[in-house]
């Protein structure tokens, strides 16, 4: 805690090159990924650090004035800042944040790649299946032949399979043909 308080005086992101003194034992280099980071996320609206880390001299003065009442700025100062677009609300916003909520929430065109990839792999699978049919599978059993199937159907009708609403219900036993 004391170390981070001391580091905040150095400047928020300049810490990457400074070192962290721990309890007199030695120094530990603080890596970039271990520092508080900036990120645009809808569920975490106020990140740990502001976006623009190294402020130019003008931006620094603007930040100082921003802390006070803007009414105290003289007209010339306001105009000068406005001309440089620094006093514009959007410019102040952009120092603290990288993207607005509208920008960070907008969708990408990624779905097109996803659909294209899906079709491609389904097509590849189809080719593999066709090759399998030709070169891998053996012949189908004899029970698939037409004569066998006819005998099968006749036997099912003889047994009165599903005579109420199903198979045999559609057969006309008097005229020996399928019902119209």
């Amino acid at each position: 805690m004391l170390a981070t308080r001391a580091l905040s005086l150095v400047g928020k992101r300049a810490i990457s090159t400074s070192i962290c003194v721990r309890g007199g034992h030695g120094v530990a280099k603080v890596d970039d990924y271990a520092l508080p980071a900036y990120f645009d996320r809808r569920e975490n609206p106020l990140p740990d650090v502001q976006f623009v880390t190294e402020l130019s001299a003008v931006q620094k003065s603007l930040k100082e004035k921003e802390k006070g009442s803007w009414a105290t700025l003289s007209n010339e100062e306001k105009i000068a800042l406005w001309e440089t677009q620094l006093l514009a609300p959007t410019r102040v916003y952009r120092i603290s944040f990288k993207q607005s909520f509208a920008e960070m929430n907008e969708g990408t065109k990624e779905w097109k790649s996803v659909i294209a990839g899906m079709f491609f792999f389904i097509g590849m699978t189809g080719l593999v299946v066709l090759w399998q049919r030709k070169f891998v599978y053996g012949p189908v059993p004899p029970t698939f032949e037409s004569e066998w199937k006819e005998k099968e159907v006749q036997r099912m009708l003889d047994m009165r399979i599903n005579p109420v609403e199903g198979f045999s219900a559609k057969w006309d036993y008097e005229n020996k043909e399928w019902k119209k």
């Binding site: 036997r155 003889d158 047994m159 009165r160 005579p163 109420v164 609403e165 036993y173």
Partner: protein, 76 residues
């Protein structure tokens, strides 16, 4: 310009009060539709079939077709 404070509490309750009656109503409708569209016609179809069913005639027809193992067709 300040925005109105968004609702912070009671979100689940509000969602349930909206969705549960609709869910129950739709379930009842689905059940009623299945009952009167499927099961009642099916029960009626079975009742009608067996009203006209002559057991002996059907048995003899099946026997002559040769599907039984316990009785041979008549005349063999």
């Amino acid at each position: 310009m300040s925005l109105a404070k968004p609702a912070m509490r009671g979100l689940l309750g509000k969602r349930l009060r909206f969705h549960l009656p609709i869910a129950f109503a739709l379930s009842l409708v689905a059940a009623a539709a299945f009952k009167y569209g499927v099961t009642e016609p099916r029960k009626q179809a079975y009742a009608d079939f067996y009203k006209q069913y002559d057991t002996t005639k059907e048995f003899n027809n099946m026997r002559d077709a040769g599907v039984f193992e316990s009785v041979r067709p008549t005349g063999e």
